[in-house]
Amino acid sequence: MSGFSLDAVAAILFIPAAAAILAALPNYRMTAAVNVAASLLTLLAALSLFVTDRPAPGQYLLIDDLNIVFIVLNTFVGFTTSVFSASYIAHELETGRLTAPNLRFYHAMYQIMMFGMNLAFVSNNIGLMWVAVELATLSTVLMVGIYRTHEALEAAWKYFILGSVGIALALFGTILVYMAAQPVVGEGTNAMVWSVLIENAAHFDPALLSVAFIFLLLGYGTKVGLAPLHAWLPDAHAEGPTPISAVLSGLLLNVALYAVLRFKLLLAASPQAIGPGPLMVTMGLTSLIFAAFMLYRRRDIKRLFAYSSIEHMGIIVFAFGMGGPLANFAGLLHMVMHSLTKSAIFFAVGHIAQVKGTQKISEIRGLTESHPGLGWALVIGVVAIAGLPPLGIFMSEFLVVSSTFARHPWLAIPLVFGLLIAFGALLLRLTGLAFGEPRGGMAPVEASYVPIYSHLALVFAAGIYLPAPLVAWFQHVAGILG
Amino acid sequence: MAVILELAIQGAQMFSVLLLAPLLIGFVRKVKARLVRRQGPSVIQPYRDLVRLMRKEVVLADNASWLFRVTPFLIFAATWVAAALVPTFATGLEFSWAADLIVVVALLGSARFFQALAGMDVGTSFGGIGASREVMIASLAEPAMLLIVFSVALVAGATQLSTVAAFMGSPEVGLRVSLGMSLIALVMVAIAENARIPVDNPATHLELTMVHEAMILEYSGRHLAMIELASFIKLLLYMSLISCVFLPWGLDSGGTGPKALAIGAATYLGKLAMLAILLAVFETAVAKMRVFRVPDFLGAALMLALLGTLLLFVSRSL
């Protein structure tokens, strides 16, 4: 049985790898289909992890409650995004923004990225995790630059430079962790196996761990997009193909966040080391408030929502930094909800930008009038992302704010402040985009509504009803996160 | 039997109010005339005027609505009921508990409400002037009045006029600064409410200076008669209010036989005469003020009333 489920893990890894090669094959017409099919298979493999019992943690692979959340979310959004990107890319091909070779490259990279992210989640080895994260990052760098336009290249270059500095810092942090572990658990691979590390973390040298955590926080935090390490994020979202924006916001940020969480656990296990909580709370609040203010003057619709991703990453990091069962639960819930909502928003925005022929907010008006399907999707999405009920994010924000205020009132005030500022900005833009006299292209759009509305439906359902098993599972993970 | 008697007294009071009101006005006018060495019209001239008006036909403006025609009767009824609720020569009347001082004030308020509306109904600018100025005056006079009610009620522990009068008659009132202030405030409010000099000149017909007259400019015949009568009753009402709250002596406390009633009636007439003379003297002594000085006048009343209310807590160590 365990053998089978190990196969499931293997499938999660190898399907994308294989698909990447397939997609790179000369015949580009197939590639989109391959992409969708592969993503679907990966999702099924991921789901099979529920029914099968888990493999014992090996030197390289590990399945536990924490990462299974991420894996399933990852593969699910990966699948819906592939569905969306099929219709999106087709349109790009018609308009000639992309060529057939681009397409092959794009789909190959897409699968490599999925491979990288899945590997990052299942890896039990901090070195391997690092490799995987970088792999995912670099593949997205290439996709961001795919349009070859001045702006796209500039964005990709910025992403690449900042990203590789992040790479370096994270690697140094990883090395430091190894150095801290090596005297305790002895030399060799064992000193990089996470499940081993967490057991002995108490005996590690606290000073080393502290330095290591700072490097890891900055290194992976760069990819989480925490201010002031965020600079790459808005442009990468704005200039890349929209499916990639969706994946970046929905998934890649989570990957980096997952890495940070793992190391937070490690640090939390070593009492004398510097507390990760205050650091994360600070970075979270900074990002939240900073992004909230940045939302106001955005003129590009995708950049707008990129900043809102920064804002929400801030909230999540804040929640995990607060710790405690309520805040951690809220953090997990918020992360899942944000992935679903934000990717749905980007799906809608992608179609909108295509039909209106522009990403300039000022040139898009009255969507609910001209394109009700997309317009109302955008309204629901923004309402959800702004934390209004009856949608999922409301529940998580409810828990974060109320529990924080009960515990540390002075932390809740800036939190609420940031939330309100961000809300004002988002609603302001939404009012302009969705209402008023329609402006811009009026052509009917053949959008793929299924991914959009399936995400929104999930978010809505979660807002009013969380199934008991999911809750128990979240609570357990929240317990692990301490 | 007792009930019959009570009802009789109640009825007697209502009709005595109705009958006395024009006389009071006539008396005031007479005194004023004499004060300026004029012969002046006879004291019963108001009755004659009313009867004449009743007989005359009504000339109605073309676009006057039903409201315009109903209003006079509403005003009259509201004022009359209000007056009937104020003890004149006897307290503890059959229906006195049907309403208290606040209701009396509010009834006068509704009379004014409809009068202002009627003023705007025809759609001439005079009606507008009158109505807007009237509500401006009222918006200051009414709170002042209510604050007076407060201070009185806080002293007497009731807004029920019979109770108040009974209490004010009792020796335990003593002499209170706050009550003095309330009295002054009440007088000022009464002057404003009855459109007397210096707030408004009941005799003027120069459109730009009139307030009360401007609203009823379009009225004629029986309608005018009703409104005039209502204003007469209003003056009487305020005078009997002052007398029953601040000069409550000789009031018949109810059911104590004809002798007491007679005394009550006599003293009541005496008080009215005195107040009427005071009013006449005051009116001849002062000049009418500009419309936009009126707020200061009433603001003073408001302040006095508020001060009176607040001083209560100082004067008696609650």
Binding site: N125, G127, L128, W130, V131, E134, L138, V141, L142, G145, R148, H150, E151, L153, E154, A155, A156, W157, F160, I161, S164, V165, I167, A168, L171, F172, T174, I175, L176, Y178, M179, A180, Q182, P183, E187, G188, T189, A191, M192, D205, A207, L208, V211, P234, D235, A238, E239, R298, R299, D300, R303 | -
Partner: protein
Amino acid sequence: MNGLTFDIAHLLAGSLVLISFMMLYQDRLFALINIFALHAVVLALSVAWQAYIQDAHHLYITAAIALVFKAIVIPVGLHRIIQRLGIHRDIETAVGIGPTMLAGIGLVTLSMVLMLRVTPEADPLAREDLAFALSIILLGLLVMVTRRNAVSQVVGFMSLENGLVLAATGAKGMPLVVEISVAFSILIAFIVIGVFLFRIRERFDSVDVGALDDYRGERR
């Protein structure tokens, strides 16, 4: 381990820091690149020495990679690029040399302080190594942020990577995975950078990042 081996390792690591300092005050591109080549050579030496004293033979590969790629291939490549793109030779610095040096000294002290807090149980070599590696990394970053010119930024980045390699090799028995991944990542880094430089060459006349930045997503 006896004193000599320790001292040699110490000497090599220390000289790496020294060379990083030398990078800080270069104002000519070619000189900078040459210094970097030297940096790479010393790195290769120290890695080799580590391989010898830990007798971990796989580290020789790392040393070789460092020598071949960083000390030879890349400097030559960069010379080429500079000639081909006709970038003028001197580097305009964002911050004056003096302040930069002072900052560098500050950074080195900072890293010393941090590492000396580490409990002495960790073997001394590792501690010293880490201290040096940390200062090299910080100095590399300093080079990146104080130089306006793309090439010099790339150089700064690579010296930073050298610091990483030093640290990694200093860590006893760290699995091969890591070194390979380091080299691997640097390789990818260079491919991509090369690709980008090439594309950028198509569109711009210089690789000056400043010029790249004149379009910043949104015009004001």
